[in-house]
């Protein structure tokens, strides 16, 4: 099944997660900002979720709706296309990122526009649309404040929901002063002033925009309705003022019924920003004469989603509604940050979804390290509004990686596992190894071995080993229960009654 092609878009970093994370961990400011951001949103989310008396029932329904939608994706997409077309929209199908970019660039050209305004859209980042537009001489302006900051800085987003969290206010002020046209030179770093500077700059662009580009939070097959959930109002601006609107949407976002919105519009705001409802949600079904864009396009994107769907364990990753609740509870993400994953989809869901979309090509492929970027604590599964069992997907993908390596030149961990396997299969070898390991007590301090010479150092450079006990369990058992009992597995009581030939009985 074709996966997302390499060389286009942003689904793969240039180094493995452990290497990238090691680099990111050194960034104190990122860790501070991220720790503050994630703990703040965690608390807000917990508070508003606690208010909802039927939260678990909503999660169950959402999971069921998504499962049903995936199982009927071809019919739903066809139905969506009929309804969007009937209401004056044009539907395009894109097999991969390159095709989607070609389609959008073509549409912008056909509209005669040299600049477009964009709503924050993960899928357009995924396919590298801005780069494709720039290459065609089109100025693609990000209008979400954080995306604008990241774009002006020439950087990459580090979080699904608050992409500029790795910048502090002083840095943002610097970025605006350096890169924002017509900015007030006396601009301070007060967040309100910064936001107002962005407002003024963007407002002019909104008012003259001819083409808007968006993603989609959902599309309703039975009516052809598409929806955007946002906070700032830049969405409404891009969706309402330009004459042409181009929406790029992953095929997994389609929902069967309008009624399904009552589930997701409760789950999404509370899970993502920890609010009862986000400031603005906009929905539209095709073209409304005299109101909003009169040229409407919907680009349905595959780019590896069918490959993910083909994986029976992995396909539930397609249920994701991009709330980022999993990022905010993940102990790994909180410390490493989004850049370490190398993909526009970071954190727990990113570790699962990214390798499913791109496929992996062996242990040199950075994406093959993503399923291992987890302690499997399961916090993500607990908070996921659509109940994606991320830990199970990650374990499944780890097995996939290990299986893919079999039969080739064994790596270090495979050799270690083989050696360990041989020792554990043979009781005498195991007993001998236990005796030998006691020497490790010499290396221990405060009950732990924190440093071993090579090859043990490969383990201890990031993990501690508990110090071996004075006496192994098997030795204790043999001492307590009599010699030979460790091998026979028979207790002294059993041995006595068997030897007497008598059974336990009353008087």
């Amino acid at each position: 099944m074709p996966t997302a092609p390499a060389g286009v878009g942003h689904l793969r970093g240039d180094r493995s997660f452990p290497r990238a994370a090691e680099h990111e961990l050194a960034n104190d400011q990122l860790r501070r900002n991220l720790g503050h951001a994630t703990s703040t949103i965690r608390a807000k989310r917990a508070a508003v979720v606690a208010e909802v008396p039927d939260w678990e029932a909503l999660r169950d329904a959402a999971s069921a709706i998504k499962t049903a939608a995936m199982a009927h994706l071809p019919e739903l997409l066809t139905q969506l296309e009929v309804n969007v077309t009937a209401r004056g929209g044009v539907v395009h199908w894109a097999r991969d990122a390159a095709e989607a970019n070609r389609i959008v660039v073509g549409l912008v050209r056909a509209a005669g526009a040299r600049e477009v305004v964009k709503i924050k859209s993960m899928v357009t980042q995924e396919i590298g649309l801005n780069e494709a537009l720039e290459a065609d001489g089109v100025d693609a302006l990000e209008t979400d404040l954080a995306e604008l900051i990241v774009q002006l800085a020439g950087d990459r987003p580090s979080h699904i929901l608050v992409p500029a969290i790795h910048f502090n206010r002083a840095q943002i002020r610097e970025i605006f002063l350096a890169k924002m046209p017509d900015v007030d030179p006396d601009l301070t770093d007060d967040p309100r002033q910064l936001a107002m500077a962005a407002r003024a700059y963007l407002r002019e662009r909104f008012l003259r925009a001819q083409v808007g580009i968006s993603g989609a939070n959902f599309a309703i097959a039975e009516t052809g309705t598409i929806g955007i959930v946002e906070s700032e109002g830049n969405g409404r601006m891009c969706l309402t003022l330009p004459d042409t609107l181009i929406t790029v949407m992953g095929i997994e976002k389609v929902l069967p019924r309008a009624q399904d919105l009552e589930v997701f519009l409760q789950l999404l705001p509370r899970s993502s920003t920890g609010e009862r409802m986000n400031p603005y949600t906009s929905t539209w079904a095709g073209v409304t004469p005299g109101d909003g864009p009169q040229q409407l396009h919907l680009v349905l994107l595959d780019n590896g989603r069918t490959a993910a769907l083909a994986d029976e364990v992995g396909r539930q990753a397609l249920h994701c509604i991009r709330c980022s609740a999993c990022l905010n509870v993940c102990p790994v993400y909180e410390r490493a940050g989004g850049h370490a994953y190398g993909s526009v989809y970071p954190g727990p869901i990113g570790a699962a979804l990214t390798p499913l979309l791109t496929g992996t090509t062996g242990h040199d492929d950075p994406n093959s390290s993503l399923p291992f970027a987890s302690s499997l604590c399961g916090a993500c599964f607990e908070v996921c509004p659509v109940k994606i069992d991320i830990p199970s997907i990650l374990v499944h993908l780890r097995a996939r990686e290990v299986d893919a390596e079999r039969g080739g030149v064994p790596g270090g961990s495979e050799l270690a596992m083989r050696a360990l396997g041989k020792v554990m299969e043979h009781p005498r070898a195991f007993a001998a190894a236990e005796v030998a390991s006691r020497a490790g007590r010499l290396l221990a301090r405060d009950g732990a071995i924190t440093r071993l010479p090579w090859p043990g150092s490969l383990w201890t450079e990031s993990r501690d080993l508990p110090a071996p006990p004075r006496e192994s369990f098997r030795a204790w058992w043999a001492r307590e229960r009599g010699p030979g009992s460790a091998e026979a597995g028979v207790s002294p009581a059993d041995r006595r009654s068997a030897g007497n030939g008598s059974t336990e009985s009353g008087a």
Binding site: E75, L239, N278
Partner: protein, 236 residues
Amino acid sequence: MTDARAEMLARLDAALGSAATERTATERTAPENTATVTGGGPVPDVDRDYLGADSTWETATTGAALLALLTERIVDYRATVTRVTPDEVADVVARLLVGARRVVAPHGLDRSWLEVAAAAGADVVWDGPSQVLSVRELDAVDAVVTGSRLAIAETGTIVLDAAADQGRRALSLVPDHHICVVRTDDVVRGVPAAMTRLDVTRPLTWISGPSATSDIELERVEGVHGPRRLDVVLVG
């Protein structure tokens, strides 16, 4: 694009392990007919055990308690709520419009609501099919007054559906001050009840407070784009 469409549908069939022959011919052809396809259709509905529109949670919250909840939730978003009787609307609107020189309203809005403001000197412009303000003209307007389709008390949300008394979407977006009239009969408690009253084939705008961002160090800043001032007039 037929190649891409056919290939993607074929990939989906293969991924789901379903035989391509199971699909009927009508599901496979490009949409030449213009009739819309409604209903859940191909997908069986799921169990919905959550609190729906007909639950006691929804139906038992009515009257003053419902309106008090709505008010509390809207005020929490830093918008104002003024409770009035129908004959008081014009006066309250005029009071809220103090300082506004130019006001736009959709052509289907109750004209009497703006009489007092107009008498006090506000220049009221009625936007409609025969008079469509340009984006720049909207930008020069100080305030907009609209009706609404409904309000959701639990979340403090007001929904507009672009009907004649609410106008096209740009009207409630570009001006910096939005005065929104909500009828008490149009207030529901939760989102499921709201969905039973909304037509998603119309352009819908769900408004829960003024716009906001927390993108800079997570500090919430209100009013980025869209009206920075929202006043709700609750009439009934």
